[in-house]
Amino acid sequence: MRLFDPAVQMLRGLYETMKQMLFNPVVTVQYPEEKRKVSRRFRGRHVLQRYDNGLEKCIGCSLCAAACPSDAIFVESSENTDEKRFSPGERYASTYEINMLRCIYCGFCEDACPTEAIILGDNYELSFTDRQSAIYTKDFLLEPVRAASMLTPQKVAAGAYPRSVPEMEDPSF
């Protein structure tokens, strides 16, 4: 019997392979033609959100930078005017940079944001060839607009935004 042993072993192997091939679901994803769906709580590249009218949600408070454990975020703020309005309220981020080489995608910035302006999206396709281009700036991070009129800065009616920060929902509700 010992004579036939190798053949039996081989057939057994082939049987296993055929079984896997024909009856098990395919798990290979044909990236990049095909992309895997990420989970709802996936933490990918940051996106700076806008309100429906196009104004930026970010108020330049720098709390994301304070929360960032890897010191990847740099924010500098300026004052809004009704002539040149970026965000509702008094203050907006005139500079917003994230160093993607430093970011560890922990999502603390998202937690710290008082206006839900920064969201870690589902984009994980980041590539850069030098350190300079690893620094993502505000125009790169901002959510795209649907119409040119929604671009910031916007000219708004005087006194249209009297609050220093937009009203937010009471988190206890």
Binding site: A66, G89, S164
Partner: protein
């Protein structure tokens, strides 16, 4: 010695002087009672109700007047039925206090107070400039309820965006109505330009003055504001407080030498450079306490000016071109060496002690002249009888006297004005002698008004027999401030000598809290006098045909006569921060580092030597002044210390007796100061910084050392007699002028305004000019447009001309009025 009172706070026994407030007594035993309206520098108000504590007093038997004892033989304590404010109640012997640490009642009282304060607070901490260093934030986290029972929709809505003048912003919603700012302006600064309007929940801060918040101390209210209601325009949305680095420095705007902290941050707007974002006061109870003036706070931008020089320049065929340090130094050394004894070193009091010492050593080595660029003299008098070691203006009070002659302290040195005013409040006799009215008059015990030219004679009379002289003779301590208000170099030289004689003759020298203080135009003029620089009456003549090494001064920009003289100089080397008009005339321009970029020391008018530290990276290829001088000297064949600033200081302390025994470690020493501010408890003293980098040290005076006190005799001051159709134009100093150190702060433009000459209304009427009218005055071939202001306290026939406003009046001169004509109303 005041009586000590013993009380018990949270079971800890503490003995404090009678009259101490409970909150201060608690602080002594490291118990922090939370406060908002209470401030150690202000009178208590009891407005915020945050410091609620349980207070018990020993029960007294009415019949015997003795304390009632309980079963254990201890005094029976009768606790007051309601919670008491720790900030208004003074300690009483045997008092028992239970703070939030031991009393549930106190804890819930404070908890409710926070809840109440937050009912209408906007909670916009994310964008508030105070966020991160906010007492309300901190105390809410520590003592607040965490949840509010009040309805969000019923929040009070008030204006959020109210400018109180150009410098201070008010957010009415954030205000918790503690009244710290109004009490500061009224009690400390003596200028009640802001106050409360309306009542109850809608009570709001308003300004009464025009321009709004017209006080040079306005920035201090933003420091002591326990919320973000008052913020500065300069720092508005500049950065979050936790992102800032801090470095100790000294303010360079006047001779007071306020201790400051520079807050720096890397900034995208400044192309990624690290820049000074704000200047904050640093506690030094003997200099500026925890205050500073708006000029120091907002005019710091000149170190970052657009016309900073970053590379040496050499004049090639009438054009300044960039060169290497070696080429520039070689050329300068060659030409300066060639001039031999015909070298003039012209330096200003903007430089540090070490720079001036090296410059003086170079001038001495070559055999040239070291001239101080200044139109105020009298420094010879401050060397022997200057303010003595151990002096503190804050210690002057009842029985002491302060004399202020020919100086408008409010405009020239605001913090001295504040300190002098406070001494007068404490009961010191304040004698103000001036040719015109100043803001200090209001607080003066005696006012002396003299005619122009009579300054020296007036001071001499104070040594004679009259009520003013009596006040001086009887004074326990006497401090004399002298300036150059309405005078030039020769007048102030003579006045300084007269003041020194007055101090010596009334035996007010060589003791702490006695002596002479020069109100100099620049931060370190006193240091320049100490190392041997002397001003020259005839500067234009001196520099003609000579090699001139100008450091930290802009004579050509200030005075057309000096510009002309410089053109005929043989060789001009200019060493400065910025590209000035003088630099345009230079053969070699050497870029110097600003005080924010390097280390060094300044000597204040009170003769206190204080260290400043480097806070930002060096601009371009600039080098420190003392290093450039040493390198230049080396090329010329003289060895000066040019590597370490502290070694230059050591050499200085060995060769100058006033500096003897001082060194850098000594200047960096800190002792515990009261009140304790700047620790974790920003709610207590505000956001002024704790002093961690040195309180500085006083220089010794000849009188104190026991050396012979030799004083020059004051000379009679001759004034030009205005001819017919002329007025006597005299120079006066304005706080905000058009000088190089202010020009780069556009925020102050509104305060600088335009050139304005002050005339007596009668004189103005004679000239046919009404107040507020624009007139054209011309003399010496130049013309200026100036606005007329009338002031009844100005002598008839006299025009007060502000310095550094483009009108070259440095000495009293006759101003022809024929050329005065109206341009427009």
């Amino acid at each position: 010695m005041t009586d000590l009172v013993t009380l018990t706070i949270d079971g800890k026994q503490v003995s404090v002087p009678a009259g101490t407030l409970v909150v201060e007594a608690a602080k002594k035993v490291s118990i922090d009672v939370p406060v908002f309206c209470y401030h150690p520098k202000l009178e208590p108000a009891g407005m915020c109700r945050m410091c609620l504590v349980e207070v018990g007093l020993p029960m007294i038997d009415r019949a015997t007047g003795k304390p009632v004892l309980d079963d254990n033989g201890q005094p029976k304590i009768n606790f007051l039925p309601k919670l008491e404010t720790a900030c208004t109640n003074k300690v009483v012997a045997g008092m028992v206090v239970k703070t939030q640490l031991t009393s549930e009642k106190a804890r819930s009282g404070q908890n409710s107070t926070v809840e109440f304060l937050l009912t209408s607070h906007p909670l916009d901490c994310p964008i508030c400039d105070k966020g991160g260093e906010c007492p309300l934030q901190n105390l809410t986290m520590e003592h607040g309820p965490g949840k509010s029972r009040f309805l969000f929709d019923e929040k009070q809505r008030l204006d959020k965006h109210v400018p109180l003048g150009d410098l201070i912003w008010l957010d009415r919603e954030r205000c918790i109505q503690c009244g710290r700012c109004t009490r500061f302006q009224e009690d400390v600064a003596g200028e009640a330009v802001i106050g409360f309007a309306e009542r109850g929940r809608t009570m709001q801060i308003v300004t009464h003055s025009d321009p709004g918040f017209d006080s040079v101390f306005s920035g201090n209210t933003t420091d002591i504001c326990p919320v973000g209601a008052l913020t500065t325009s300069d720092f508005r949305f500049g950065a979050r407080p936790w992102e800032l680095d801090e470095q100790a420095s000294i303010c360079t705007q006047c001779p007071v030498g306020c201790n400051v902290t520079l807050n720096t941050r890397r900034e995208a707007k400044a192309d990624g450079r690290i820049v000074v974002k704000r200047v904050m006061p640093r506690q030094n109870e003997e200099v500026n306490e925890i205050w500073m003036c708006d000029k120091g706070r907002f005019a710091h931008h000149y170190t970052d000016a657009a016309n900073r020089i970053g590379k040496p320049l050499i004049n090639k065929d009438g054009k300044l071109v960039k060169a290497s340090w070696k080429a520039a130094l070689d050329l300068a050394a060659e030409k300066l060496s060639a001039s031999k004894k015909n070298l003039i070193v012209l330096a200003s009091g903007r430089l540090s002690n070490e720079d001036l010492f090296n410059l003086k050593s170079l001038a001495d080595g070559v055999g040239g002249q070291a001239i101080l660029y200044s139109d105020m003299g009298g420094g010879e008098a401050t060397l022997p009888v200057g303010l003595s070691d151990g002096s503190n203006l804050g210690a002057l009070g009842k029985g002491d006297a302060i004399l202020v002659v020919a100086s408008d302290l409010y405009e020239e040195a605001p913090i001295w004005w504040l300190r002098v005013k406070q001494a007068a409040d404490r009961g010191a006799t304040l004698i103000v002698a001036n040719s015109r009215g100043t803001k200090l008059d209001k607080f003066a015990t005696h006012k002396i008004r003299y005619e122009h030219g009579q300054e020296t004679a007036t001071v001499k009379e104070l040594g004679g027999k009259n009520k003013h002289a009596d006040a001086i003779r009887k004074a326990g301590n006497l401090v004399v401030f002298f300036g150059n208000d309405g005078m030039g170099l020769s007048g102030s030289t003579s006045l300084g000598a007269a003041c020194a004689h007055l101090l010596k003759d009334s035996d007010h020298i060589g003791r702490p809290n006695n002596g002479l203080v020069g109100v100099w135009p620049r931060v370190n003029d006193q240091g320049a006098w100490e190392v041997g620089f002397r001003p020259s009456v005839n500067l234009a003549e001196e520099i003609k045909g000579k090699a001139v090494y100008i450091v930290g001064a802009d004579p050509a920009g200030d005075n057309p006569a000096l510009a002309k003289a410089l053109k005929s100089a043989k060789f001009v080397v200019v060493q400065d921060l910025t590209h000035t008009a003088t630099a345009d005339l230079a053969d070699v321009v050497l870029p110097a580092q600003a005080h924010t970029e390097r280390e060094g020391t300044f000597t204040s008018g009170e003769r206190r030597v204080q260290r400043f530290y480097s806070a930002v990276p060096v601009f371009g290829e600039a080098r420190p002044d003392f290093v450039i001088t040493a390198q230049l000297a080396r090329e010329m064949g003289y060895i000066l210390e040019g590597s370490s600033v502290s070694i230059v200081f050591d050499i200085m302390s060995q060769s100058l007796s006033a500096f003897e025994g001082l060194d850098y470690p000594l200047l960096a020493e800190v002792t515990v100061q009261w009140p304790e501010v700047g620790h974790g408890d920003i709610y207590y003293g505000g956001t002024s910084y704790e002093n961690k980098k040195g309180l500085g040290a006083h220089l010794s005076s000849a009188a104190q050392r026991g050396d012979a006190v030799r004083l020059a005799s004051p000379r009679a001051n001759k004034l030009p007699k205005p001819k017919e159709n002329e007025v006597l134009a005299v120079p006066v100093t304005k706080l905000y002028d058009m000088g190089n150190t202010i020009a780069s702060a556009p925020l102050l433009d509104g305060r600088v305004g335009e050139a304005t000459i002050a005339l007596n209304p009668l004189t103005a009427a004679e000239l046919g000019a009404a107040a507020g009218e624009l007139i054209r005055v011309g003399w010496n071939g130049s013309q200026s447009e100036v606005r007329v202001r009338t002031d009844a306290s100005v002598a008839e026939g006299v025009a007060l001309v502000p310095r550094s406003f483009g009108i070259p009046v440095y000495e009293p001169i006759g101003l022809p009025v024929r050329t005065v004509k109206k341009v427009k109303a």
